[in-house]
């Protein structure tokens, strides 16, 4: 019998459980998105998940690996989930399909599969889509009702759902109920940042201050602005859940949000011509929360040592802000995280943990005890 070393206890969650919890943590944001913008995200998610499972199975066949074993780690579903959040609602079906295929094949398996990829696969897929199909990737078609508070149930009404379905599958326009996509309001927004050009105050805050109508009613009134805020709050809640479950450590989210918050606070000049957006806007609108809690913390592509994690988070936060203000693409989270990924292995080497009993410049050993 070959020697087997201790320990003989196993207490941790498995990789599959970790990934399942991450999927679970995405649910609040998913629910908010569906409530405000209709079933566009769900369609994206279904298409992306199916493609992801199919592609990974294909890779397993090619690499002579067990398909069930590889798929049972759920990681490919997390990739699909994160990517579908980044794809505009109402994008034609081949957008999520090709994006996910690229993410899984090029972003993940070319490097050797889970654990070996240098870049976050979802962001690789997203950026590939963004540079290949800029038009489709910045045109968010949502049922027009979603933008006006007047028609409450519209995005989730049958009509709203059909519109989204026809947007995703253009070939259905003739077979089901005639072309209804004119009812969709297409407006270019990678994020609401374009629409509101950095100047919008918080819609939820407005709803809270507005005493004339009940808070919940105003806060959940459908408007893109409020919707994005809620989705971000959903990710924030999901992120707190992951922190509580100790799936992620606090270092990366705190560093990303902290550096972004400080930068936007420093450069925010209310009323001035060069308005760069309030800290609230930078943190709670756009993809900041999903980036900070779900994508930047992807274990495979982030550093492991706490100090390296802080540096990595700051790097991403600074990159998000700089690219938002100076870059051509407004939604800079994807690029910022890919940039951070590039530095992750080096940061682990540069800023390792302090080994017990080893003195260093930053942490000298204590000389005498103080009884």
């Amino acid at each position: 019998m070959p020697a087997i070393s201790s320990p003989f206890l196993c207490g941790a969650r498995s990789v599959a459980q970790i990934m399942q919890l991450v999927l679970l943590a995405c649910l609040p944001a998913l629910a908010f998105s569906t409530w405000f913008f209709g079933i566009g995200l769900l369609l994206n998610l279904i298409l992306a998940s199916l493609t992801a499972l199919l592609m990974e199975s294909l890779v397993c066949l090619l690499r002579a690996r067990s398909i069930t074993f590889t798929l049972s780690d759920y990681s490919v579903l997390v990739t699909a989930m994160l990517l579908s959040f980044a794809i505009p609602h109402g994008a034609p079906w081949w957008i999520p399909v090709s994006g996910t295929a690229f993410a899984v094949l090029i972003g993940k398996h070319v490097y050797g599969g889970l654990g070996y990829n240098l870049f976050n696969p979802a962001m690789v897929g997203y950026v590939a889509l963004l540079v290949s199909f800029p038009l489709e990737m910045t045109a968010w078609h949502i049922p027009s009702a979603a933008r006006t508070a007047a028609e409450q149930a519209a995005p989730l009404s049958l009509e709203g759902m059909l519109i989204t379905l026809q947007l995703s599958f253009p070939f259905l326009q003739d077979s089901i109920g005639g072309n209804m996509t004119t009812g969709a309001d297409g407006f270019a927004m990678a994020t609401p940042l374009i629409e509101y050009k950095f100047a919008a105050p918080s819609a939820i805050h407005r709803a809270w201050m507005d005493n004339t109508s009940p808070f919940l009613r105003t806060a959940f009134a459908r408007s893109a602005e409020t919707g994005w805020e809620w989705i971000n709050l959903g990710f924030f809640a999901g992120g707190l859940f992951l922190l509580w479950q100790r799936i992620i450590s606090w270092h990366i989210p705190v560093a990303v949000l902290g550096s972004l918050g400080i930068l936007s606070w420093l450069f925010y000049q209310p009323g001035s011509e060069a308005v760069y957006g309030s800290p609230y806007l930078h943190l709670f609108i756009s993809a900041t929360m999903i980036g900070a809690f779900f994508i930047a913390t992807d274990p495979v592509t982030a550093p492991a040592s706490p100090r390296a994690r802080l540096a990595y988070g700051c790097l991403i936060g600074i990159a998000i802000y700089t690219l938002r203000i100076r870059g051509n693409y407004l939604d800079s989270v994807g690029f910022a995280i890919l940039l951070g990924n590039l530095f992750a292995p080096g940061l682990d080497r540069l800023l390792p943990t302090r080994v017990y009993g080893k003195s260093s410049k930053w942490f000298p050993l204590r000389r005498r005890s103080t009884p």
């Binding site: 070393s5 889970l114 492991a304 017990y356 080893k358 005890s369």
Partner: protein, 513 residues
């Protein structure tokens, strides 16, 4: 890093926190709910001569000898081995290879002792005061008794004490933390023999004269804490209750918790004027100094799902494990796996007749049900859970990659030899990578290569010496040859002269004629 919460008790120093650690499920109550039981004397005791890091004790008895209880069987064979005594009266049946508690499961030379039944009555051990004897006498008694560190490492106590005495001891730390999830031998000992343990500690205090003496004990042991506090109330010993977090009982981690200091990498606590001793060792010191009794038995936790009556047993050293299992109710034809030591740092044994030694604090008989088939291993996802759990502050995943890629220099510089093999990283790994085994194998590989280098240097030296000698021999021979030639030449000339001298008178005579 920051000083931890203030302890409840007055006069007790603030606690500190070590990095990482885990909270495995604790499983001690089954064995602890009963008093310590005495294990019956085995008909055959096996006393392995191997000691710390493979140094061997020298047997002073031979097969066929009759020995009485406590008689010296083997003498320390070097600095790292200790004396061994007969745990019971009997006859030496053989000195041969036998399995012993080691991860390799390879046999080692052992004294096999067939015990007499019934045991002849010996003189009762009588308590004598240690106050009257001096430091050197205390040390001699401890050395003579063959005491080793009973927490698991098995380092000879006398050698450790001498080293500490040479450096001076500022803080004496008594390790009662016993953080491994299934081991309760020390807790049981404290529950019943706290006074004796404290007497043992007092002896160490008298020997080492430390400024402070602290007992570190986890807050999960209320009974032992109460017993200790009662025994310590009139002594200059502070009982410090520490939070339960594995591996708080690791020497370096306990020192960090109690003093806030860290033992420098590659050094020992003695180098920073701290000495750590296990409570069982203190009990053995009490027995050796006060009762004049060598180390003959120890308390062993016998537990595991295969057993009907998990217990803490007082076991004579050398008792085969099978006897312990029988005592604790092992149903016939149960399929089980034997673990020596705790579930996080122990090792597997296959031979149930492996003897108990001074380091055997726990024996577990684990059923297959308790430990379901290992979940399949996956690739490392670099989650960093291992780094969060590592009490040595290492980056276990980076170490693993370096080992996997055979970057041996990088492995050493990343602190492989600071790894205490506690198993916390393995425990939390979601991919089920056997990290600790990688570290153990890599450590052994590096140590082996150092050993090979040393051996090569030694061979080189011998070879060169031989060449020198051969050359010198040749020179000597050639010199001898020259001398012989000279001698031969001298002899020849002498012979010629002699012949001439002999012939000259004849010639003269002829001429005269």
């Amino acid at each position: 890093m920051s000083p931890g919460h203030q302890s409840r008790r007055p006069g007790v120093p603030a606690l500190h926190r070590f990095n990482g650690g885990i909270h495995p499920p604790v499983n001690k109550s089954a064995a602890l709910s009963h008093a310590i039981e005495r294990c019956v004397l085995a008909p055959r005791l096996i006393l392995p001569l191997a000691h710390y890091r493979g140094e061997m004790a020298q047997a002073v008895v031979k097969a066929g000898d009759h020995v009485r209880r406590g008689q010296l069987l083997a003498k320390a064979g070097g600095k790292l081995s200790v004396n061994m005594h007969a745990p019971a009266a009997g006859q030496i049946s053989a000195i041969r290879e036998h399995s012993f508690p080691h991860a390799s499961q390879l046999p080692v030379r052992s004294i096999i002792l067939d015990t007499f039944n019934p045991q002849p009555l010996g003189p009762e051990p009588k308590a004598g005061g240690h106050q009257r004897i001096n430091q050197e006498q205390i040390l001699a008694k401890i050395e003579q008794a063959g005491i080793v560190g009973m927490g698991g490492a098995g380092f000879p106590t006398a050698a450790k004490l001498r080293r500490a005495l040479a450096n001076g001891v500022q803080t004496l730390i008594i390790n009662a933390a016993e953080c491994e999830p299934s081991i309760s031998a020390d807790e049981a000992l404290l529950g019943e023999h706290a006074e004796e343990v404290c007497q043992g500690i007092a002896i160490l205090q008298a020997l080492l004269k430390p400024d402070v003496c602290l007992i570190g004990i986890e807050d999960s042991k209320p009974g032992a804490i109460a017993a200790l506090e009662q025994a310590c109330c009139n002594r200059n010993i502070k009982v410090v209750v520490i939070p339960t977090r594995y591996p708080s009982g690791g020497e370096r981690q306990l020192i960090k918790i109690l003093t806030g200091r860290e033992v420098p990498s590659g050094r020992t606590p003695q180098d920073i004027q701290i000495l750590c001793q296990n409570v069982s060792t203190c009990h053995a010191v009490y027995q050796a100094v006060v009762l004049d009794q060598p180390l003959l038995s120890r308390i062993v936790t016998v537990t595991g799902g295969a057993l009907q009556r998990p217990r803490n047993l007082e076991v004579p050293l050398g008792t085969p494990i099978s006897l312990l299992l029988a005592h604790c109710g092992l149903p016939a034809d149960t399929h089980f796996q034997l673990v020596h030591g705790g579930p996080l740092m122990g090792f597997l044994l296959d031979d149930v007749d492996t003897p108990i030694t001074a380091i055997s604090n726990c024996i577990m008989a684990i059923t297959a049900r308790e430990h379901q088939a290992p979940a399949a291993r996956r690739a490392c996802i670099r989650c960093g859970f291992c780094a969060e759990a590592c009490p040595a502050g290492l980056l276990p995943q980076q170490l693993y990659f370096a080992i996997d890629q055979q970057r041996h220099d990088s492995v050493a510089s990343q602190g492989l030899f600071d790894c205490i093999e506690c198993g916390a990283c393995d425990y939390v790994c979601p991919s089920n990578i056997p990290l600790v085994q990688y570290y153990r194998a890599e450590k052994a590989l590096i140590q082996d290569s150092h050993r090979a280098d040393e051996q090569a240097a030694y061979w080189q030296q011998r070879f060169e010496f031989r060449q020198l000698r051969v050359k010198a021999g040749q020179q000597k021979q050639s010199q001898l040859k020259i001398q012989q030639e000279i001698r031969a030449a001298v002899a020849r000339s002498k012979a010629k002269r002699a012949q001439r001298e002999k012939s000259e008178p004849q010639q003269q005579a002829r001429r005269e004629k």
